[in-house]
Amino acid sequence: MSDGWAVVLLVGAVTIAFKGLGPVLLGGRQLPPRAAGALSLLAPAVLAALVVTQAFAAEGRLVLDPRAAGLAVAAIAVWRKGPTLLVVVIAAGVTALVRALT
């Protein structure tokens, strides 16, 4: 078996297990209120961490590149309650523009 196929098999098995663990073990069951309360803060924390890693990380380093300009304009659009699609298109446009100019 080539390494390519081994990666498909191993990464697939690990990911399916990670994604399936909670639903298979706890699926459909009511969580105790304390656990549910703790998990309610998962979305803001993970989404904020994703914003930061997607905007400022590159190959294990902190960087300031055109993505930051896109994010800054996106933040204004989000603050002005722009719809998600508009926010994303504006951010991509600004990122592309700054990249083309620098």
Binding site: V7, A38, A45
Partner: protein
């Protein structure tokens, strides 16, 4: 965001994975960042173990994410296992109601849509869809932080939620230069769960 399936297909083909393996990987793994990481590590160093570990770290966040949606996925366990695979950052975020519960119909619809776009895009990529411009020229890498910011906005209406978001961002910023990719996000999720337990107790 299925457009990124195309560059993934191109990258995987160039890494010597052939045409079928990348498409099958998108169909079974369905997690963009981990697939990019695994294939680029394999393509640059050829180290199988390093490629698998990089992908596993990036996908470790799906353990707590999977636990959070579990109570809203009913049915037999094979059905729950299958529905759990449709969870990606975007489908999870749009289906979150903000109180820790999830709309199963939104989750499944968004998950299926993203799945088809991702697998279809990968197929186009391996078939040599080079007529499309480079995603970086289009600024598509700048679309992701904006997407997550827009998905984050409705989740920070309470003080604890705002604190969790600021804390998550701060931990991620701190850990980006110190740890492999994926660890900053897992650390942010652990902080949120422990922090919430602390305030509830």
């Amino acid at each position: 965001m299925g457009l990124f399936g195309i560059p993934f297909g191109i990258l995987a083909r160039d890494a010597g994975m052939g045409a079928l393996a990348p498409v099958l990987m998108s169909a079974t793994t369905f997690a963009g960042s981990a697939q990019f990481a695994a294939v680029s590590v394999l393509g640059s160093s050829g180290a199988l173990a390093a490629a698998v570990i990089a992908a596993a770290l990036l996908n470790a966040r799906y353990v707590p994410i999977g636990v959070s949606v579990a109570q809203d996925l009913p049915g037999s366990w094979p059905k729950r296992l299958l529905l759990g695979q449709l969870v990606v950052d975007e489908s999870w975020a749009v289906s979150a109601r903000g109180d820790g519960r999830f709309d199963r119909h939104v989750l499944v619809a968004a998950g299926l849509l993203l799945y088809m776009a991702w697998v279809g895009g990968t197929a186009l990529g391996v078939l040599g869809a080079t007529v499309l411009p480079d995603p970086e020229t289009l600024g598509l890498d700048g679309a992701f932080p904006a997407l997550f910011l827009s998905l984050l906005a409705p989740h920070v209406r309470s003080r604890p939620a705002l604190a969790a978001a600021v804390g998550g961002a701060a931990i991620a910023l701190f850990l980006i230069p110190l740890t492999p990719a994926g660890v900053p996000i897992v650390a942010a999720s652990v902080m949120a769960i422990l922090g919430a337990r602390g305030t509830a107790a």
